[in-house]
Structure formats: structure tokens, C-alpha cells
Symmetry: C2
């Protein structure tokens, strides 16, 4: 398999973390998203939505959307709950992550880390951080009664939510009001096969950029 | 089962459409989202994220997030692809729907239909409609080579994308530039067990609102 990715992307990190914990090897091609590497005709032929991560399977099929990719990788492994309700609860939190969490936890980090200090998009930060706090409070409430997000075990739902939550401070979030959430972050970081966000995969190929 | 819902919600409609096509009975409780019925302490105990649709299962478990709910309902039925790659492709399009489509196709419709004509949120419309056109173009490209979104068959991915696409015009989108997409809308509307968005379910209970 070959993963088209960008090292600092939490969405890409979900896939790298799942691959590591499943013991799967892969080639890794870094796409410079800040220089348009996901908007070239060549890349759009892989994923018409022009986003990383995109996974190329051994038969040449391309799979996009981080949470769909880790679901695919985890099928038949302990990372996917074995029962119907557990799978649905994992998906519930993964859709929560993409709709109610990522735009308000990941996007502020992108604006702060990757856009110029005078970017007009900085005006979005107060509203995004407020909605992000609401998402973090929903997680805190759940973790007051559960060790993990779905089926009382570590699963793809934890991988999906961990990726941007553990670096939420880089976008301006303060995690100190969420003790249950901080304890969960530690539980995830102590899982077998854990790897940190910025650990660069070995088999690297550089991808052509537009500019 | 009991579905907490709001008739005009496309997310709720996904669940009603899946239930109808699967031939499953349910009780239906309408929550007036415009009057805070999903932010009462009683409702937040069902879904701490305070959103409809939320499905109460027969054992009292609550399941949230429209796409997770229809996945749960469809397991073991023809609405879920039987193979691992087909399931992943269905999920790819369902995550696309929640991240790249719903905020730009459904939210404009909500702003236009449900907020006052002088709402400051109308200023969001040009940007949201532009991103919505990008999402519709991605769908059009896919449908140029496929009859449905995943596994070449009608599935939960089509239900997820149909719900807000078929009423995109109510938010200001013009579907005339997307002939493949319009043909797919017709294919979906011709599926056995189809029911329209505004068909009110029979077994109705009114939910208490805040204001």
C-alpha cells in the first residue's frame, strides 16, 4: 500500500497510527499541501476531492477520508468492535469527530501554525474555539463514565478523536478544564504500537507540487 | 425503536428513508430544534451533543449521528455493501457528505429556510455556496463513471448524499450544471420503498421545548 500524506496532518496521522498498531508496512509519499500538491491533475485523478490522506491499495484502488481508511484497515482486527452496536458507536464518534470536532479543534491549529500572522482567517478563531470547547466538553462528559469512546475498548474511534485532540493546544485550546480527557489521552499514548504525530515514516517519496 | 427527529431535517430524513426501505417500524418524536427541544437536560441525557436525529433502541441505548444510525440499521441488509472495500467506499462518501457537503449544501438551506431574512448568518452564503458547488462537482465526476456511490449498487452512501442534495435548490444551489447528478437523484427516487422528505411518520409524539 502507498499512503499519500502530509506529516503534520492529524487526519494523516490517524492512518499512520492505525497502520503501526496493525503492524502493516506501507510506502509513504509526502504531498506539500501548502504548495498545491493535492490539487494537481495527477493527484485529483487519485482523489477528486483533492485531500490527503489518500491510500492506494495494492490493486491500484484509491481510498480517501481518514476515518473510512482506518475503518478499512481495522476490519477483522481488535481495533474494530466485534458487535453491531459497538461498531455503530465507533462510527457515531467518528462522525462526531469530522462534523463537530475537526473544524473547531484541527482548523484553529492549521490557521495558527500554517497561515501568516496577518491572515484574515484569524478572525474565525474565537467562534471556532468556542465550538471546539463544546466538542471537548461532550468528550469529557462521555469519558467520565467510559475508559474509551466505543464498546469500552481502544478502537478506531479513539484513534480518530486522539489525532487532533492531543495537539489541540497548538490551535489555542486549553485542555486543563478536562481532566477525564487528559487521562484518556495518556491511555491512548500508552497503547501498544503507539507512534507520535511527527514520527516521519521511513519509506518516503516526494510528491510534485504546483508552485 | 424510537426516533427523535425534526421533519424538515435531511439528516433525520436519512434515517426515515432507511427505516422505510428496510421495512422497520418505529415511534417518532418530533423535537422543535428552533425552540431548543434538543438542548433540554432531558434531551442532552439522550445525546450530549444535543442534535437530532437520535435513535433510541429497544434496550434503551441511544445512538446519534445520522450516518452511524443508518449504518447500524443497514448491517446485514442489501443497503450495506457485502465486501470490505465496498463498505470502506460507502464510508468514504458518508464522511465526504458530513465534512465537504453538508456544511455547504444543507447549512445554506437552513439559513434560507429557517433564519430571519435579516439574519447576519446570510453573510455566510456566498462562501458556503461556492464550497457546495465544489462538492457537487466531485459527485458529478464520480457519477460520470458509476451509477451509485459505492460498490455499484444503491446503499447507505446514496441515502446519505441524497438527503440534502435533492433539496439543494432550497438553499440557493442550481443543479442544472450537473446532469449525471440529476439522473442519479431520479434513480434514488425510483428505489423500492422510497418516501419523500416531508412525509410525516404516523406514530408521532410531541417533545417538550424550552421556549
Amino acid at each position: 500500500m502507498k499512503l499519500y500524506d502530509y506529516l503534520d496532518s492529524g487526519n494523516g496521522y490517524k492512518v499512520r497510527l492505525a497502520l503501526a498498531q496493525l503492524g502493516m508496512g506501507y510506502d509513504w509519499e509526502e504531498c506539500d499541501i501548502l504548495r498545491g500538491a493535492t490539487r494537481t491533475p495527477e493527484f485529483l485523478a487519485r482523489n477528486p476531492n483533492g485531500r490527503i490522506p489518500t491510500l492506494e491499495l495494492d490493486d491500484g484502488t484509491f481510498l480517501a477520508e481518514s476515518n473510512a481508511i482506518i475503518w478499512y484497515l481495522a476490519e477483522g482486527s481488535p481495533l474494530l468492535p466485534p458487535d453491531r452496536l459497538g461498531r455503530a458507536q465507533a462510527l457515531q464518534w467518528m462522525f462526531f469527530e469530522q462534523y463537530s470536532h475537526e473544524p473547531y479543534v484541527a482548523t484553529p491549529r492549521f490557521i495558527v501554525k500554517h497561515l501568516p500572522a496577518d491572515s484574515p482567517r484569524r478572525a474565525e478563531l474565537p467562534d471556532r474555539l468556542e465550538r471546539g470547547r463544546a466538542a471537548l466538553a461532550v468528550m469529557e462528559r462521555h469519558l467520565g463514565a467510559h475508559r474509551f469512546f466505543a464498546a469500552d475498548r481502544y478502537s478506531v474511534a479513539d484513534i480518530a478523536l486522539y489525532a487532533y485532540t492531543h495537539v489541540a493546544d497548538e490551535g489555542g485550546h486549553d485542555l486543563s478544564p478536562y481532566p477525564q480527557l487528559r487521562a484518556w489521552l495518556e491511555r491512548v499514548a500508552n497503547q501498544p504500537g503507539y507512534r507520535p504525530l511527527m514520527a516521519r515514516p521511513a519509506r518516503r517519496v516526494a510528491s510534485p507540487a504546483i508552485a
